[in-house]
Amino acid sequence: MEGTGQAAASGMAGARVDDGAAGGKALKVVAAVDASEESLHALSWALDHVVRCHPDAALVVVHAQHAVDHFVYPVAAHGIAYAPATAVESMRKAQEENSRRILARALDMCKERQVDATGAIVEGDPKEAICQAVERFQAGLLVLGSRGLGRIKRAFLGSVSDYLSHHACCPVLVVKPTKAQAK
């Protein structure tokens, strides 16, 4: 009896470590969103076309928040902007509020389609932060909008989606805006 119990335990451990050649492994989908409409459209596309057909899929909505300290260094000399601690704090609070709003909007969209999703906020440079998040969550699929950085950063040609499609450790789904949306 004890022998079979031990065998079962080690069998389960093996299954956890294994990449999962079995077809039953649930698909873990990570969707990256920001303030842009395109990323929300990407999420909605994924909800309609991927999650709907994988009822056991787990969905995580990720928002990458720029680290606030990055912008402001308290340097006394040379007239570089010196921000008192209170300003840094209020910037951080504003950022968090912004992130929460974005995530709330995304999670509402998931709820509308009766999909259980969890939200996560990661800090730092969006490219690397999302890349690391994908590894941490052991995602099976990453969903991105193609102009996720918004209009101003469009000049960089969606460098986040470019970077991630080559560096993420899982397949990357890049969703294009529909012709109606592309203005």
């Binding site: 076309h49 989606s161 499609s165 397949p171 789904l173 890049v174 969703v175 012709k179």
Partner: protein
């Protein structure tokens, strides 16, 4: 009866079309296998329509000018055979998918062939493997996956072969 139902329903259901680009590389077959694993699980009614496309490079690009015409015909025949081998291998891999899958070999540059196939089949998603080249190799050798992401009108899925299995 179940077979009739599944073949009658696609028109009504509007199955999503998935186009997968393959070539001789392992990376593309890995991408195909990933697509099958996640989107075409065996033993269930298929919810997507699969189209597998491979590009046949034009012989003109391969053979240098000033060569006897016979050689060009030979090269073309050889390229067609190579493409057919790729499709045969893909058919083996897709054997589990219910008869819906289509296989095409189209002459032309891989980039345009894949994007055009996606448009022709009104695909909702185009899947390509990626060789995982660094930025410099991509700039020099040209990346099909890069081109597809920027020029396809539909969603593009890029599947990389993992460098190491943990």
């Amino acid at each position: 009866m179940a077979a009739e139902a599944s073949s009658a329903s696609p028109a009504a259901e509007g199955k999503m079309t998935v186009v997968v680009g393959v070539d001789e590389s392992d990376h593309s077959f890995h991408a195909l296998q990933r697509v099958l694993r996640h989107f075409f699980p065996p033993g269930q009614p298929q919810r997507y329509r699969l189209v597998v496309v491979t590009a046949i490079p034009t012989a003109i690009g391969v053979v240098s000018p000033g060569v006897v015409m016979d050689v060009r015909a030979f090269v073309e025949a050889d390229l067609n055979r190579a493409a057919q081998r790729v499709l045969d291998k893909a058919k083996d891999i897709c054997a589990q998918v219910a008869g819906d899958a289509e296989f095409e070999a189209v002459v032309g540059d891989a980039r345009r062939v894949l994007c055009d196939a996606a448009e022709r089949h009104h695909a909702e998603m185009l899947v390509v493997g990626s060789h995982g080249y660094g930025a410099i190799k991509r700039a020099v050798l040209g990346s099909v996956s890069d081109y597809c992401v920027h020029h396809a009108h539909c969603t593009v899925m890029i599947v990389k072969k993992p460098k190491h299995k943990n």
